[in-house]
Subunit: 470 residues, 2 copies
């Protein structure tokens, strides 16, 4: 239990206090007890508990321990005894474009700049509407929840619709309204984008699930004035800023040619790192860039699948971690840069890529990789006080995955199991913010059949727009 | 239909003949009709058929076409109407060590030589017995079948037990009895290994599922005399030879230092390529090596997961394919080099690795990758006349995968779907050699509960042997 400062009584302290009081008075009433063969807590001591249980009250975890201890001290309104299963923090996606699920694989095997300019931007301008974003985000949330992702970080258009879907799905989100220097689906000018972003920040201020954010797309798609205005707006509302950073060599070379410094240093000079920021990709960061990001507390979203598939390059993850930068994982968008939202696959890729790239099979251990997908990702988002681990006081964002597949039998180390042998399809139950959202692989908050039907309708109109160019 | 030469009447010709006769006489009786929303045939024209059906008689495919056409011309004893699903050739695993499933992840994050010498060889000498191989192979076959692999290529000890399990599982196998230059679980000397191999070749000669093979482990673990004897033995029985080749830089450097030439050239000089051969890994092949392998018709098993995880390096797959070498995919063993048998993941990795390595997002298209996992793998094994595609006359080795997951909806290109969005868990039904072996994700030939129980027992004894060193 953490020692609370009486002058700054947080919810976490209050829960700890409650816990202390109720245990004195005998068995405490809780909403849920979840049990499993093994729990990976990702707490500060990285405790792994065999025959484990978690007690949940309201939206928060009240206690974690052995099943015997938790059962002795708590009386639960509802139980979920998962048996031969692994209980772990819900996974944290630190970079994605959810609604692009409806563009899944429309353009494979092309370079990022060409992919963006010839395929994605035109397809978006022809197809993206609030309803497109609504159904695309529903499809994405469905896939993410089914594979155990409980927090997602989004950068897209009509972000207020993404926020509505996150609430509907019961999923945690750090959602960034895009600001970009040319006319897009939801704004004709960057000024319009900024105005939209401000309305969005206000609309979702204080939401228990949604952290609204401002998302200037990148240094190469925005003017310095817009970038500065985006930072100022985020700071005025004490919200994070999300941005793509040093994703391709071309971006790096162009910025260096124009400004004499790297994108990370150019953005530093513009003050973009003065406040919570999450930078996606960071493929071409050099040692000085890494020092700056570490000093400014910028979180980095590592996107191995996207960086490999678009041949963008290999991010210096080992160096970033060594410098103390908070690194999370992101599947990016599914329109050609991935093409799914599976964080188990990102874990596997992050590890294998770091090993083959460095020539060192010990580079990135499986524990470090699980950290990136959970508490590390939460830290990159500034949400490590709320999610990313199974500890008393944290929000109850939890996945439970079956261990009855031949692929998960036997295992000798639980982190090795999670990174190298488990898959998204092993996830069986998911809780977000104390609410069960997936049970026995069935979504409880989203209508799967309706979403898949709508996705096929959108497929028809997207394919037609690609054929006709309209 | 293929034109048959009357002087060389093969089974394939006979089936074609039968087909012609029966269609003249009205609807043909068949054992199975399988239908699905879309079929990827991987035939010479790479036909993709919407609303497709396959007619199976005995162990072979009799006809492939639209559901309407197949239904009109055939009367089936049994039907499997899979609905919103993909029908494709069963996947071909060209390199693995199945029984090592019981060692899943015993040693992660170490270099291949250390991994072999400090962990794997000692663990094997303490644990491997015929019963260990039997249960380990059962566990592996269970996992492989559930994820749609219908042919596997194995190199291990007590290979006759692997053959028995392949028959029991109803799975196709190219199974290599190991020959190695130091005492191992099933042979004290290479001579004993060769004698074992000969008995094994005789025992499984003419088996409809098992192609027995000789598997000298590698150039660095066998004398030249043993390597030559292994080749002579394989040729005497007209069977393939399986070997590890140029897996690590160390292997390449050591051989070059000792012999002045690369492993591929040294083995060529020893005559190892005079006869059907499958070389696993090929990470450090140079251009001359590739020319030699192409000229000698050596098949190559590309193992991206293993090569990345052990930091062995990156195989020149694009060059191999360009040179006309038959390349298949292999998950290698699950004891630390992978740690599963999932060929969908190997497809995904092969593509992403080739793209990021070459800096070219167009390197290896998704169609080329599906080829490696099916007909290309079959060609590498010399089995392309029998399996690897859905065409009349071929053995009925077929997978049917559900397309009702949010991850597989929508899609715009079926090869992109298969490589970048589908997973092993989508596989729902599997047929090998005309026999249904997985139905609705349930194994029909193997006892899943008994296998998982036994695997946990072996986990206990393996863990104890690691602790005590005995």
């Amino acid at each position: 239990m953490r020692i609370c400062c009486p002058t700054r009584l947080t919810t976490k302290c209050f829960v700890s206090f409650l816990f202390a009081v109720t245990t004195l008075a005998g068995a405490a009433n809780v909403d849920w007890i979840l049990t499993a063969r093994i729990a990976v807590t990702m707490d500060a001591r990285r405790r792994v508990i065999e025959d484990a249980a978690v007690a949940v009250r309201g939206d928060r975890i009240l206690a974690v321990g052995t099943r015997a201890a938790i059962d002795k001290e708590h009386r639960a309104a509802q139980r979920l005894d998962a048996g031969n299963a692994l209980l772990a923090p819900g996974l944290v996606n630190t970079h994605t474009h959810a609604a692009m699920s409806l563009f899944r694989g429309i353009a494979d095997d092309v370079r990022l700049q060409e992919w963006l300019e010839k395929f994605i931007f035109p397809a978006e301008s022809r197809n993206v509407s609030p309803e497109f974003v609504r159904w695309g985000t529903r499809l994405a949330c469905l896939e993410m929840l089914l594979s155990g992702t409980t927090t997602f970080t989004d950068m897209y258009y009509f972000e207020e619709v993404v926020g509505e879907v996150a609430r509907e799905a019961g999923m945690r989100g750090v959602l960034g309204q895009t600001v970009i220097g040319f006319p897009v689906a939801d704004a004709k000018t960057p000024a319009e984008g900024l105005a939209r972003a401000e309305r969005f920040l206000k609309q979702f201020d204080g939401d228990p699930l949604v952290t609204p954010a401002v998302a200037p797309h990148a240094i190469y798609t925005n003017s310095d004035a817009t970038l500065g205005a985006a930072r100022a707006l985020a700071n005025r509302h004490r919200k994070p800023l999300l941005i793509h950073l040093s994703e391709t060599k071309k971006e790096n070379d162009d910025v260096r040619r124009a400004r004499g410094v790297s994108p990370a240093r150019a953005l530093d000079a513009l003050g973009l790192w003065n406040g919570r920021a999450v930078a996606a990709h960071g493929v071409w960061l050099d040692d000085t860039d890494i020092e700056i990001l570490a000093a400014r507390g910028v979180g980095v979203a590592h996107c191995p699948a996207s960086n490999m598939k678009l041949a963008s390059g290999i991010a210096p993850v080992v160096k970033l971690l060594k410098a103390g930068v908070a690194v999370g994982l992101g599947p990016d968008g599914p329109a050609g840069s991935n093409n799914d939202f599976d964080l188990w696959e990102e874990m596997d890729l992050a590890g294998k890529l770091a090993k083959v790239h460095s020539g060192d099979p010990a580079a990135l251990t499986s524990r470090q990789i699980v950290e990136m997908a959970t508490i590390g990702g939460a830290r990159a988002l500034g949400l490590d006080g709320e999610t990313g681990s199974i500890e008393p006081g944290k929000r109850a964002d939890i996945l439970i995955a079956a261990l009855d597949h031949p692929r998960t039998t036997p295992f000798y180390d639980v982190y090795s199991l999670m990174v190298w042998a488990m898959k998204g399809s092993d996830v069986r139950h998911v809780m977000v913010n104390g609410k069960l959202v997936v049970r026995d692989r069935k979504p409880l908050t989203l209508d799967s059949a309706a979403i898949l039907k709508k996705a096929l309708e959108y497929r028809g109109s997207v394919a037609a727009s690609l054929r006709t160019g309209r």
